[in-house]
Point group: D2
């Protein structure tokens, strides 16, 4: 009989929370156990509290769960808590949960820059979780509960770092990255989200804080762990981002140009092969949500496209297309990632699966 | 009493042709005189021949004009002929018109690379028309009709070169340009155009031939005229383009990064001021369609946007926003241009107005 | 020198308020004098207080006006006050304004059902304003200020009643009306409005309260004024409505089936002619915003369409198309109206112009 | 070991053809055996011949199949041929196939009105297939091949007739039906299909031939089989349709009003219960694609919605919502059906499964 872990979800009625619930509903390792939301929702069965906006119907295992407030004591029995909280409340709540001894996997931006908090895109830098492993071991030895927070990245960062990481693993440092994003509206959540009147027949060429996140998070995720278990940014890499919101429901498309540090440039075919060959730890560990293929490299001239390719491997895989030489840099290509799966809730799930496989939950 | 010139339109039922007709309908200098289309349409009143797709109604001056075939003899009385023909037929037809002694202003790509054909974005390089002026003078002296072709640029090129030209005029050479476009579907025309099923909830990250045009045309337009009246490409500039089609009806948005050749970098405020100060010849000549302001520099953090800004100065002005420093290059900013006005038909009209003001029609 | 009246706008930062400001900005009869909004906005110049979402830029006459709170005393000098308030606050505020002696033309639903408040679509039942005329005369005779409220209709009602009124004027009573609407998202305002994620690739087949309004308001607008100046519903008419929200920015399309009370049925051509012949009082009075033609009857098989036809006569005209026999009722046809012009702010402006022409302001 | 039948697909590269291929790819009863398309495609592997537009990738079983021309002799070994041909070519080809002795299940409109051709929506009138059963029996007795054509209905008809049929089965005749449709763009196919420029920010209130089909087919499908095996229209029912194209990829929404012939009106709850109770023959026969539930009756006030509900039971189920009394008729409600599954290819598959279960293939 399989052992399952009790999972809580914070911000359960929001955009990311709904996705967490969908992904956990029939999960082999996790049991949907507690749903937390605002005071307005607390006390109601989930099906009444939520304005459900997913194409799949509300899972039966969530429908009748009574929503509770976001108090750590309510989640005391949870083995892991997934946070889809908005950043304006995530700071205090996640801190309380951590201090209570709980494991929080957060989609909020609040603690991403903390020097002792891993910022993890599980297809790329699950090795950063080793820092947590050491802390858990110490806590267990001391007989205490090792409360900790792990952050998943911003949605647009997740798509970018996977091919960058794959290429660096094969060809060494990348010195310069220019990226222009075409981001889906689900990335803005539902409250307030992007107004239909603003995005119909339009592009909004600005997303608050997004470019800074993309330029900075990339360097932490692709950075290294220092001897003292702090995270060192990859300072040899410069990233420049321009972010746009487009009329797409799900799926962030990114147009990327890169320059390698090496003067011994690979060929276009080398680059494609390196992306295709790339394997990540969640695959080798046999995590149930790990994609069959981390990176699909498409040869069709006009792919990937959000509507056609966002759901590859249930949204856990990255698609890359149009790999070609760049007259200014070395190479340019496009990346598509599902912003609410591998770019948000799904990344959290895969982090939890990795922790579980490593015996850290 | 004002003298007006007789204008013909080739490809009158297509996307660009419809726009030519709208722009010519109440024009002070030009009279809508001949409409040419395919054999299928010839012989019908325009209102019957066309599947009209514009928000303004069919102009009265076009409604009853009987469409003719695209034969030069039919257009013998025209002082200027605007071509909105598809490239698969434009080559032969425009050549016939030119050899017949007619002035053709073409939106087709066929002759843009010819060494003796000016490729003109009238807000930037109307000086290239001087080559034509010399040829017209010779022909008139010889008593012959100086048939010639002038091409306007590709729609995405038009938006890019205006701020580049303005900045080069103030700060000297730009060595590197990276541009990612988010292009409107009207740019693909109507036959076949972009299918609704393909673009709804989607981005198509590829436009056939577009990146090559953007990378190459920019260098001809911003290049110089040699002593022998041939056009010299600006070889000191390298351009890298990534082109996308998005669910926008009109208005191309472009995310641009640039690097100046000079080591004496201007400030962000210098760049904005140079763009705001920029004046073009169609303004000083008093061309009726010239924009009041060539380049609007917007200070709002999320502008320009296609729906809100594409119609500035009736679509003849360029909007620039989000001018800021670029960690990889020197500066990045976004450009919005109306792809069927200054990016296509309107550019042709402004070229014709310039020729008219200079006595070359 | 023309006399202009001082105009105030309540709810000036909202969807309807922005439209009022655009329509008043260069109005020959009215001067933009006071802008009222929530406490959050009060004290700021309008350009700072508003998140402007119109394609035209903020009018200069509004840009620097300092927004005030919605207190009657602040608007004491106004000859007319246009209210674009949300219904949750409109009730108290409009009442206070009326009791203060001000003339309020309201887009809110709160007082539409009041027996002494005219509910007016100015292309149809401006005769209902006679009730106000009598009250104004009495007040002026008594030397008091005749504060009163006039409501314009719900946006989807405005489009429907114009052709119904025109046909009843020619052919007598209509006994049955079935209408299915396809309504634009601007009709839902901006706060919260319709979420992009909810409407992209979707239809929302429900608009809260809309069907009741459409079924009820139609009978008041097409009803009569009783001897005691109360409004009598047209009880001989039954209306059934189904309302949908579609991915259109502006322009409500309505599919209508009607049955005349008479057994002497007109022909399709009779119906079309009656619609084309229809003239309303705002036209005969020479109101500056009155449409050139009240109802455009289009003969093209696939028109009217929102994007192509919503702006006829600046959004003050109604378009009707596809008039044909109905196998169940007598006739069916489609109606298009601009929901934020003739369906909201523009209707208020035209009511004010009518009052002004009649000497009631 | 299961016996599978060899299936051919005509028009394999088109919109309906692609869907047939997806639905057949892993089908337990049918094997994808022959793919037919135009001369332009013949001879190429399917993956090269097709411009694939589905979110699922091309099935492996289709990818390498070499496309053939639409000649009956090429399909001689097929037990059943699914036709997704355009109506301009379907007439001749399907006739040739039938005369060759093949079983053709067609999505084209050409033979729907033939008195000896069943027009079948398998959730409603699979009993009409009995006519074929008798003919097959005779042919087999005579030792000949019983070539025949069965048509599935127009896409918008399929959604309408299911609830109508369910209600008639419980409450007897329906005398009047008024329906306004909001139809997805996939219903128009891909060649030419609906242009993005025409449908973005717009509604097209006309679909050629659609209203006639909806008004007529409904009466054949809900009609009876006469003694001589001809199909008698249900003349006691009058249907009036208004059809619109909206910016939705898949899923037709229909706003329906109905009047029962009986004076003994059911209640709203009766109507909902009758819809929920409805069971069709494909369910009782155990057809693999039969929906778990024929009609889902949703109680949420704003459902069904195309994006959220079109894929219920893989697109084979119908969703009904907003069942309420109608002030003009008896009841009104909305219906959602997946236009390319139960409204087109899926209907064909379910017809074939029914034939197979009945031993008629």
């Amino acid at each position: 009989m399989p052992v399952t872990k009790k999972a809580g979800v914070l911000g359960a009625t929001g955009s990311v929370g709904q996705k967490f619930i969908l992904l956990l509903a029939e999960h082999p390792d996790f049991e949907l156990y507690k749903l937390g939301a605002s005071v307005r929702s607390a006390g109601k069965p989930y099906a009444e509290a939520v304005k459900w906006r997913q194409t799949a119907t509300i899972p039966e295992s969530a429908r009748q769960l009574v929503v509770v407030g976001c108090k750590a004591s309510e989640f005391a029995d949870c083995d892991v808590v997934f946070s889809g909280l908005d950043s304006d409340v995530a700071g205090d709540i996640e801190k309380e949960f951590k201090e209570f001894g709980l494991v929080v996997i957060s989609n909020a931006k609040n603690y991403r820059r903390e020097p002792d908090v891993p910022l993890v895109v599980p297809l790329v830098n699950s090795s950063h979780l080793d820092v947590v492993a050491r802390r858990v071991k110490q806590a267990r030895a001391a007989g205490t509960k090792p409360g900790y927070i792990i952050c998943n990245s911003n949605c647009s960062t997740a798509g970018l770092v996977v091919p960058l990481g794959a290429l660096m693993a094969r060809f060494g440092d990348i010195s310069d990255v220019t990226v222009t994003t075409l981001q889906a509206i689900s990335g803005a959540g539902f409250s307030p989200g992007v107004l239909g009147f603003d995005i119909l027949d339009n592009v909004i060429p600005y997303i608050s804080g997004e470019e800074e996140k993309l330029e900075w998070e990339t360097k932490k995720i692709l950075g290294s762990v220092a001897e003292d278990d702090s995270f060192a940014l990859r300072s040899s890499m410069t990233v420049s981002a321009q972010c746009n919101r487009v009329a797409v429901s799900d799926g962030h498309l990114e147009c990327v140009s890169i320059k390698f540090a090496t003067t011994n440039k690979p060929s276009v075919e080398d680059v494609k092969q390196a992306l295709r060959d790339y394997i990540c730890e969640s695959q080798t560990l046999g995590c149930p949500s790990a994609p069959k293929q981390c990176i699909y490299v498409l040869d069709e001239v006009d792919r990937p496209q959000p509507r056609l390719d966002r759901n590859r491997d249930n949204g856990y895989a990255i698609s890359v297309g149009r790999v070609r030489e760049d007259p200014v840099f070395d190479f340019k290509f496009i990346v598509l990632s599902h912003n609410t799966v591998i770019g948000a809730a799904g990344s959290g799930i895969l982090i939890a699966e990795t922790l579980f496989k490593k015996g850290l939950l």
